[in-house]
Symmetry: C2
Subunit: 300 residues, 2 copies
């Protein structure tokens, strides 16, 4: 292993588990060896690869977009309005425009909006140790995929640049799209939600988009449990990583999804029962977010 | 260009168009140059990469499978029964089993069933010149994808081996899948059709699965028109290939999809209007199917 790999992971059982796993999968003399095309790794996004508190960045985008369109609402009103209010906001901010227009609006917002606590652009609130893990896996010929409850189109507006993961490997919730002819030829108009990519849907999405069982999966709430179990059922050696938010000082300390309300009890119970690898942010990471000095997140 | 590339393409405008296009896209000094991640090519499958007459192989699979399950029916009965009979057959043969069981059943069938006219296994009825095109594009760092009306799971049982295209780039019609816990852990049960990947759906599927506009698209019926138009609207240089079935002696001479009934009139009109490249099988290809001497298709 390159000694600089996982530089911002403290020496710990979690770091060792990653090193041992990658060594076993990539060593041609190992009984666990797999050729590069079979090295599929899947990651949740919100709370696993970047900060999801106090609410997902995508929801902040939706609120800002709604205000821009003359329909301002607050996070408090949204919480009070429950699921109907959330769906109304998502319809307003995520449908009725072309995929190109949506992408452009997201990119504009991402370049300007800042997180209230850290005062940084949202793509700078990715986890530096996880960027290093993605790079380490890519160097070892793993294909890293994102399977998130967030929107595919929203994530693709920044995830490829920030994580170094091509758009086709960034998969989330999706709506139907309608083909029409615009001024510049065919275009796709975004319609209502078709697939909410959470919980039991994640294995179905992995089957549809990858067509292979992953050997590594990482998540942080019960909404990721099915995905981790799906990877654990691969017949060869596998690794499951459970990111635990234990760091109120540098990030947040919580065990419940900020909006959908998924907890972590089932995930932690499965991790204990099946020997999955717990990643305790406070204990296992030297830093959480990339250094402020750089204007963009640093990939290892 | 490697002189051996496209060995079974006769010297013709079609072959030259492919060479010119690939040279322009890959030459760093060319105004049309694109870096490898942007070299996305999409292909229809039935009638574009392999023989679809007298009916799609997948339908032959469905008929054989139905007979195996004690519900024999004939192609003639199927034609008489129209869409309801077809859906009934697909439900019987394609749902109610796990994705692993379906994959295994397909592979067993593909290894034994033979085409009535050529007496060969279906995966041997791919087009040798198209295998060479796929190889030539891969050598030039293109990512080749299949977007077919055929079923994703059926295609993945053989397409990766035969075309050298990884499963995640083999996309067709799909059903919902339901996660359940079986004897060996989590498994996915195949349910009814959710997305019929033909016509206007193809650009939506490309957006969902690739997230980039393709620069090359190939098809053979009006069901592929939207996909070819979608690629043509890419702002850079693009190439559209229209495969014409003109060869009754070596394959078939027809201009209509064998089951769904899509014609070719709209596709050919667009090809003429927009200067797309016609590939006339009788005129442009030295061979159609791979040599019989080998037991498996030959990739160039």
């Amino acid at each position: 292993m390159n000694e600089k790999s996982l530089a911002n992971w403290r020496e710990s059982p979690a770091k060792q588990a990653v090193f041992d796993f990658v060594a076993a999968i990539t060593d041609p003399t190992s009984p666990d060896y797999l050729s590069p095309p079979d090295r599929v790794a899947v990651f949740d996004n919100d709370g696993t690869l970047w900060t999801e508190q106090p609410v997902y960045a995508q929801l902040m985008y939706a609120l800002d977009r709604a205000a821009e369109l003359g329909h301002p609402t607050t996070l408090q009103e949204l919480h009070q309005g429950g699921m109907p209010a959330l769906m109304q906001l998502l319809t307003l901010s995520h449908t009725g425009m072309t995929t190109d227009e949506f992408d452009e609006a997201c990119r504009r917002w991402l370049a300007s909006a800042t997180d209230p606590r850290f005062g940084r652009h949202y793509p700078e609130l990715v986890y530096q140790p996880m960027l290093e893990l993605l790079s380490f896996l890519a160097e070892n010929d793993f294909s890293c995929w994102i399977f998130s409850g967030g929107g595919t189109d929203f994530m693709r507006a920044w995830a490829t640049d920030v994580y170094g993961i091509p758009p086709h490997r960034v998969i989330g919730s999706v709506g139907e799209t309608e083909l029409r002819t615009g001024a510049n030829g065919p275009e796709l108009v975004k319609k209502g939600v078709q697939i909410v990519n959470d919980g039991a849907q994640k294995p179905s999405s992995i089957h549809r988009h990858v067509g292979q069982r992953p050997i590594l999966a990482a998540g942080n709430t019960d909404g990721d449990l099915a995905m981790l179990q799906w990877s654990a059922a691969h017949p060869g050696r596998t690794l499951q990583l459970v990111i635990q938010h234990t760091d109120a000082e540098r990030e947040y300390n919580y065990d419940r999804d900020p909006i959908l309300g998924s907890g972590t009890a089932e995930l932690y119970a499965a991790a204990t029962a099946d020997g999955w690898t717990l990643v305790d942010m406070a204990r296992d990471w030297l830093t959480v977010h990339p250094p402020v000095a750089t204007s963009a997140p640093v990939r290892a």
